[in-house]
């Protein structure tokens, strides 16, 4: 049952990441990978919120491991960071990696604090 819920959540989270990234690129011409930063920060906030509420194992599998897990990504972050460095945009590479880590951590904390305030 857990596996099925993870599959369902991921089957929504992964395409949503693609759609968000496309939408961001269409509106905002920039080398900086804003789309990845956006999904990683949003997914970290939502997962922090869910973990701190806390939600039951079913919701955790569907929305946590499945949806948030697939909405957010490390592989794209890694690839975009190396590509930016290869293209001579080392500053963008460092800024993107640092922003993902710092804002992702802050978003997870904010999600947890929000859940704590509501509970």
């Amino acid at each position: 049952m857990t596996a099925l819920l993870v599959v369902l959540g991921a089957a929504v989270g992964a395409p949503l990441r693609y759609v968000v990234d496309r939408a961001v690129r269409a509106r905002h011409e920039s080398m900086f990978p804003w789309g990845t930063l956006l999904v990683n920060v949003a997914g970290s906030a939502l997962l922090g919120f869910l973990v701190a509420l806390p939600v039951g194992p079913g919701w955790s599998a569907l929305l946590g491991s499945g949806f948030c897990g697939a909405l957010t990504t490390y592989s794209t972050l890694g690839y975009e960071t190396v590509r930016l460095a290869e293209q001579g945009a080392g500053r963008h590479a460092v800024a993107s990696a640092a922003a993902n880590v710092a804002l992702g951590l802050a978003a997870a904390s904010a999600g947890m604090l929000t859940a704590g305030a509501l509970a």
Partner: protein
């Protein structure tokens, strides 16, 4: 870019790949659960391995293959590897380590994953390029 309508087949490939990748991540995390306050090795391994594979895949799809199958990148890259690797779990685990008073482990996990992930991506790309030139 991105002005044309979203291709439903691309979305379906990403959904299927993402589901498969997330299942593999779930398997890794249940094989090696991280006790509270300990370094989350399973998620670390998933993210670093997934980065090595994206390096291999992206070089194959964008540089080596004359005509890569159209759905290869959406299915394997955006889907499988995107669903396999995760940032949200990483961020929440780091926050949990800080809450548990394991600040050194949290810092090592945050910086260690980032460094290893970027190095693995780079290595995956370099090795694939080197092999493709032979």
């Amino acid at each position: 870019m991105g002005k044309e309508p979203v291709d439903v087949r691309v979305l379906a490939a990403i959904a299927a790949g993402g589901a498969a990748g997330a299942l593999a991540r779930l398997a890794a995390e249940s094989l090696l659960p991280a006790p509270r306050g300990a370094f989350p090795w399973a998620t670390f391994g998933v993210n670093v391995f997934g980065c090595a594979l994206i390096g291999v895949l992206m070089v194959l799809v964008t540089e080596v293959a004359a005509r890569a199958p159209r759905l290869a990148r959406p299915f394997l890259g955006v889907g499988v590897l995107g669903g396999f690797t995760t940032f949200s779990t990483y961020a929440v685990q780091a926050r949990d380590l800080l809450t548990a008073g394991a600040a050194t482990v949290a810092a090592a996990y945050l910086a260690g994953t980032l460094a290893a992930a970027v190095a693995a991506t780079w290595a995956g790309m370099r090795i694939t390029r080197a092999l493709a030139r032979r």
